[in-house]
């Protein structure tokens, strides 16, 4: 099979770029700890409110300006749905769905993960800018889906 010289060059450039991309993605995911949220903790969605830590949803201080935020997602709301944290706070989010699949997104940040029933999902974020953040569900969860949101205030 004849392959034109220029095509070999073109594919070689493509291949090298590909390897460079993958290396970057891999290093960021595994060495810099920026992997996508992939929590493996199981939880029974039908007994969520009796299961730790979801029996006590809300903001818990766990260190200096460091918090754990436990949230329950259900059609069509977040519990809790109004949270206030100080500027510069690092928040470890722990979320789980009580019913169908939901999304947990804080618009304009990299906090974005799925909450599929049966699992806990988690991620962390440091809020260096003050303001009113919008938490919203970004997976269709029923006809009130667009009403499912919460407020996060960084002051």
């Amino acid at each position: 099979m004849h392959v034109h010289k220029l095509e070999k060059v073109w594919l070689a450039i493509g291949f090298i770029t590909l390897v460079a991309f993958l290396t970057t993605v891999g290093i960021q995911a595994f060495a810099s700890g920026h992997g996508a949220p992939s929590d493996l903790t199981k939880v029974d969605p039908q007994n969520l409110e009796e299961t730790e830590p979801f029996d006590d949803p809300g903001l818990h201080e766990i260190g200096e300006n460091e918090y754990e935020l436990v949230m329950i997602l259900q059609s069509y709301g977040f519990t809790p749905n109004e949270i206030t944290i100080p500027e510069g706070a690092t928040v470890h989010f722990k979320v789980a769905s009580k019913d169908v699949v939901h999304g947990f997104e804080i618009a304009g940040t990299t906090v974005n993960m799925m909450a599929t029933p049966g699992y806990v999902n988690s991620t962390s974020y440091t809020f260096d800018e003050t303001g009113e953040y919008l938490i919203l569900c970004n997976e269709y969860c029923g006809t009130g889906h667009h009403l499912m949101s919460a407020q996060l205030e960084v002051e």
Binding site: G14, A29, D99, V101, E105, G118, Y140
Partner: protein, 543 residues
């Protein structure tokens, strides 16, 4: 020429596809109007109901019917007429697909299946909705049989000869489809139907999502490869050139089979229950699909340049002027190719672990697949229809019709450019997809999205006008245009007379490698999801 009986077979598929396009497209405009708060829906229809219908009719029905209609015509043209036995199988396929479609749409309109076209559990539709989907897929199996049997028949009748490139590509596309649908068939038959009938109380949500996306990603290649068939086989003839390389074209299609299936986890990157290492392995395989994509890009432009130089155009880019810009058969495909440059780059962003977190489930993703399926693929399909319909009906595409067709294509291009740009940009700031509106009680963050929603409605309006125009032109081409013979362009390759490596038609080998890659990428995580399942979910009907 295409045999008369095959003409009917092909046309029925294509016409049914266009009915789906017309209804699905109209619903699309309604969605942009609801989102931009320009209208509220009549007849107690809800937004998510028409969104479900839009996705099912366009992503599943329009594409599948058009693709098989196109394949039947091309197979009949390149390998000879279908035997009556195979044609019968194809008709059975047609009826199963249309019955499945009608049943599915009725369920959606009765508000018994407002689950969107991805039907994620544990939202639970009526069992008839899942049965409708199963009928649609079983129909494609009959259709696949007809095409593969025809290809095998040709090989038997012409031992040792290179198969027609069109037929080879059709079979490669179908092989991809058959392997891919195993996932969704397993989910529908063993999970959704028993669960919706109440035979099983709970469903393994993560398993159903994994099976769906095992199918969902190759599904997009099932849409794309028929467009590539037109690019590789038809376009070189239209521009008066040659297919750059027959062997490399075949190799590219085989690589698409290998690298488009074991990659579904990149749709589940932000999902719990699947470990990061397996996600990353599938990201690597996802990126590998860039290679056959680059081969295709090279092939296209090499073919363009050679055709231009043949016509005497000089200089580094002089050949660009030698392309038939006013010929709709070329223009439509070329704009489709141009759209695929940002679309491919966007795809790489979506599949990258970290960048995915910025855009996951935002309307950026909607913008992404509207420039792949909704631009690259559909523009190419429009272009195919403009010569295929008159060819099959014994009429010609006149100069005047060609100009009107160009206008329709440009209208689509502008509409899609506006709509998809608005989707991409507002998605970057978090505007979610699949929402009836994105106002969030006037929240400050959400307030910036309003003007983008208006832009989407403007784009959507142009798109629907373009569909209206397309349908009118197609009716004229089928009914009233002058009689004559419109060409079915089939290109000749530069290496037409050199033997192509036997390896390229060794299907056992390629299917074997595909299965090996799938087993490597999926066995352990899927085994784990089944063996150590998370607590199951009962069904919910939140509509």
């Amino acid at each position: 020429m295409v045999n008369e009986n095959d003409v009917k077979l092909s046309l029925y598929h294509i016409y049914a596809a266009f009915v789906a396009l017309f209804i699905g497209g109209s619903l699309g405009l309604l969605q942009t109007l609801v989102r931009s708060e320009s209208i509220t829906l009549p007849f107690k229809l809800n937004y998510y109901q028409i969104l479900t219908a839009h996705g099912v009719l366009l992503a599943l029905v329009f594409t599948t019917l058009f693709i098989f209609g196109f394949m039947y015509a091309g197979i009949s043209r390149t390998t000879g007429e279908f035997t009556s036995h195979r044609r019968k199988a194809a008709w059975i396929g047609y009826f199963l697909m249309t019955i499945g479609t009608v049943l599915g749409v009725v369920m959606i309109l009765m508000n018994k299946a407002t689950v969107l076209y991805t039907f994620y559990a544990p939202l639970q539709a009526s069992p008839l909705f899942y049965i409708a989907l199963a009928l649609l897929i079983v129909g494609t199996y009959f259709a696949s049989y007809a095409v593969i049997a025809q290809y095998n028949g040709w090989r038997k009748a012409n031992p040792g000869q290179k198969t027609p490139l069109f037929a080879f590509m059709a079979v490669a596309t179908i092989v991809l489809w058959l392997i891919a649908t195993l996932g969704v068939v397993a989910a529908v038959l063993f999970q959704f139907i028993p669960w919706s009938l109440g035979w099983s109380e709970e469903i393994n949500v993560t398993l159903s999502r994994t099976l769906f996306w095992y199918f969902g990603h190759p599904l997009v290649y099932f849409w794309l490869l028929p467009a590539y068939m037109a690019w590789y086989v038809v376009v070189p003839k239209v521009i008066g050139g040659k297919i750059f390389s027959d062997s490399l074209a075949r190799l590219a299609f085989l690589l698409f089979i290998l690298f488009s299936i074991p990659v579904g986890f990149h749709h589940q990157l932000t999902e719990p229950g699947i470990s990061e290492a397996w996600k990353f392995l599938q990201v690597i395989l996802t990126f590998a699909v860039i290679l056959p994509s680059l081969m295709t890009a090279f092939s296209m432009f090499a073919s363009f340049e050679l055709a231009g130089r043949e016509k005497g155009y000089k200089g580094v880019f002089g050949w660009f002027k030698g392309l038939p810009w006013s010929d709709v058969r070329f223009l439509s495909a070329f704009i489709g190719m141009a759209f695929f440059i940002p679309a491919g780059a966007g795809g790489i962003i979506n599949a990258s672990h970290q960048m995915n977190q910025v855009i996951h489930n935002t309307i950026w993703v909607t913008g992404h697949f509207h420039i792949t399926i909704g631009a690259t693929v559909i523009l190419t399909f429009f272009g195919i229809a403009y010569w295929l319909i008159p060819h099959l009906k014994g009429r010609v595409l006149t100069k005047r019709m060609n100009s009107l067709a160009n206008f329709q294509i440009v209208l689509w291009t502008i509409g899609m450019f506006i709509m998809s740009a608005a989707m991409h940009f507002s998605g970057l700031s978090g505007n979610p997809r699949r929402t009836q509106n994105s106002d969030y009680n006037g929240h400050e963050v959400a307030s910036q999205w309003g003007s983008y929603e208006t832009a989407m409605a403007v784009g959507g309006t142009l798109l629907l006008f373009s569909i209206f125009m397309f349908i009118i032109l197609i009716i004229r081409l089928a009914k009233t245009e002058p009689l004559g013979q419109e060409e079915f362009p089939i290109g000749v390759a530069l290496d037409e007379n050199t033997k192509s490596p036997k390896l390229l038609e060794n299907w056992k080998l390629w299917i074997g490698i595909a299965i090996a890659l799938i087993l490597i990428a999926y066995t352990i995580p899927v085994f784990d999801i089944i063996q150590n399942p998370a607590p199951g979910s009962p069904g919910y009907k939140f509509w």
